[in-house]
């Protein structure tokens, strides 16, 4: 049962409570069993109706839901023998990014991802999943290790963005992000990126350059938060403006697939990953396994050439090469 309900999920509060009570009864009477089945069916139907027709802003809110599985949950459920590694060997260890060695379906891999917290103390410790430069530099260290030992990289994206603070700027936030992007783009080992929550701007992209970029149905990915966009363009963060920005920025998985920024959408169970994490893990695991099998067929040179082409083509649709000088049009106007 979820711990928090978003505004548009309120219709589930009573339903979930009643179901939970019924489920706790070990031996059902025939009557109770019938009620339980009926409620279960009603719940599933309601989920199918509600979650298939969400607005972009509602999806952004879902992508931030604290009941959604986080990076460490995926690592725990999809991998075995996880050994978490710490520190960038320069300054410190950033708990907003986790990573290490693990085995995915028997194969040794390097896993890296943004990590948010659930409890208040944990949220603060992990800085709400907003990394500082040492987090990106730890990730880079692990990427290079993956390359040296020929391990594929699994990267999980889940951040509102890189931390905008004095210390982060002093230690070169921009440099840390830029370097990660460049190094990932040329890393000589397969990289699979999964956007599991919020993909927030450069702070997300710094773990997000890969051979395959997958995105969960209720995840989002954007150049700026809808709140930030509304504030810049309209000077206000009213619910209407923020909802408008979420729509205008095209941040949902469906949008990103249409823009050819991601390779595939990983479906979530009706009701979403936050309501049914146990049904979510195998879907993500299967999607990663499929892509990994395909990537392992390629030589390293093929891999890098395809990765280059993939990102090289981004934004192609926006580029117009007119036969006439566009400045002529300015002059005649």
């Amino acid at each position: 049962m979820p711990t928090t309900y978003l505004e548009f999920e309120k219709s589930f509060v009573e339903l979930d409570k009643r179901l939970e009570t019924l489920r706790q009864i070990t031996i059902h009477s025939e009557e109770e069993q019938t009620e339980c089945d009926a409620l279960e069916a009603q719940c599933r139907q309601q989920e199918a109706d509600l979650y298939s027709a969400l607005s972009p802003w509602q999806r952004v809110q879902l992508s931030r839901h604290t009941d959604r599985p986080y990076t460490l949950d995926y690592i725990e459920q999809l991998c075995s023998e996880f050994v978490e590694l710490h520190g960038d060997r320069v300054f410190g260890d950033d708990p907003a990014i986790v990573g290490g060695l693990a085995r995915f379906r028997g194969r040794p891999v390097v896993v890296v991802g943004h990590q948010r917290g659930r409890t208040t103390a944990e949220k603060v410790r992990r800085n709400f999943g907003m990394p500082r430069p040492e987090g990106y530099r730890k990730a880079l260290r692990l990427f290079h290790m993956a390359e040296r030992f020929r391990r594929p990289v699994l990267a999980f994206i889940d951040t509102q963005g890189a931390y905008p603070g004095i210390d982060a700027e002093e230690r070169g936030q921009a440099e840390a992000i830029a370097r990660n992007i460049r190094e990932m783009s040329r890393l000589r080992t397969p990289i699979i990126v999964v956007v599991i929550g919020e993909g927030g701007s450069g702070g997300a992209l710094a773990l997000g350059v890969g051979d395959r970029v997958l995105m969960q149905e209720n995840a989002c990915y954007s150049v700026i938060t809808p709140e930030g966009c509304a504030a810049i363009l309209y000077g206000e963060r009213t619910p209407e403006r923020v909802a408008w920005a979420a729509d205008a920025l095209k941040v949902t998985a469906t949008d990103l697939l249409a823009l050819q920024v991601i390779d595939a959408i990983i479906p979530e169970p009706p009701g979403g990953a936050h309501r049914h994490p146990e049904e979510t893990f195998p879907l993500v695991g299967e999607a990663i396994a499929q892509q990994l099998d395909a990537l392992l067929q390629l030589s390293t040179d093929e891999l890098l050439a395809q990765r280059y082409t993939k990102f090289r083509r981004m934004g192609e649709a926006v580029i117009v090469a007119p036969t006439e000088d566009p400045r002529a049009e300015i002059a005649s106007a």
Partner: protein, 275 residues
Amino acid sequence: MAAREWRRVQEESENIWVKCSGCQEILFRKDAERRLFVCPKCNTHMRLTVDQRLLMIVDRGSFVERDAVLSSADALGFRDRKPYTARLAEARGKTGRAEAVVCGVATILDQPVALGIFDFAFLGGSMGSVVGEKLTRVVEHAIDAQLPVVFFAASGGARMQEGVLSLMQMAKVSMALGRLREVGLPYLCVMTDPTTGGVAASLGMLGDIHIAEPQALIGFAGPRVIEQTIREKLPPGFQRAEFLVEHGMVDLVVERKDLRRTLGQVLSLLRDSVQ
């Protein structure tokens, strides 16, 4: 012909006075030009147009522009107070350029280079798909023609109106610069005021050598966003060029009058064949 007419219109509308963006001192345009738009009172390095930058950096007549006509379409159908298409048209009218970066090849003190110069007057120098494409193409040309790359950054970051596609330009350009690096060609980045957001966090900070103009604002997060996050006033000089040198992110702060000579010197030290 049409383009020439447009330039005349621009010249007529230009004021004979220039106001310093730092101390508000009023200067004669002719004097300001002679001083390379550096304020004699407070040393503010005012923002330049691409033409002014070319004039003071490259050898006369050596610049050949590439991909001048590439321009943006509105992939997202983005419309806030104004449609994105109208904002683009306005920026084109204001700058006489099709997009926010001008790329090409030139020589600097006889050193051939591939160049990219941001135009801050064009939608804040924001990097959309065309800016990313032009920069990537000029880096790819540099790889083919064995040229060093010099970029002059002046940008607030990614272009919001192109959404996540503009974010991906950071990857596109960085990837090309990664290849340039692998083939052993130098890349120099000159950060001018301002170099922030997605431009700082990609091509800005990927140079073999980082040069900044005095007092230029350089950083990832904008000062206002930081102040809102930490709920504190920022210390004076924070995120300015000199601060970045102090923190090891920039090699040199170079006065505008010395910039051409410094670039020529660095290029020859990196590129001259050993006798």
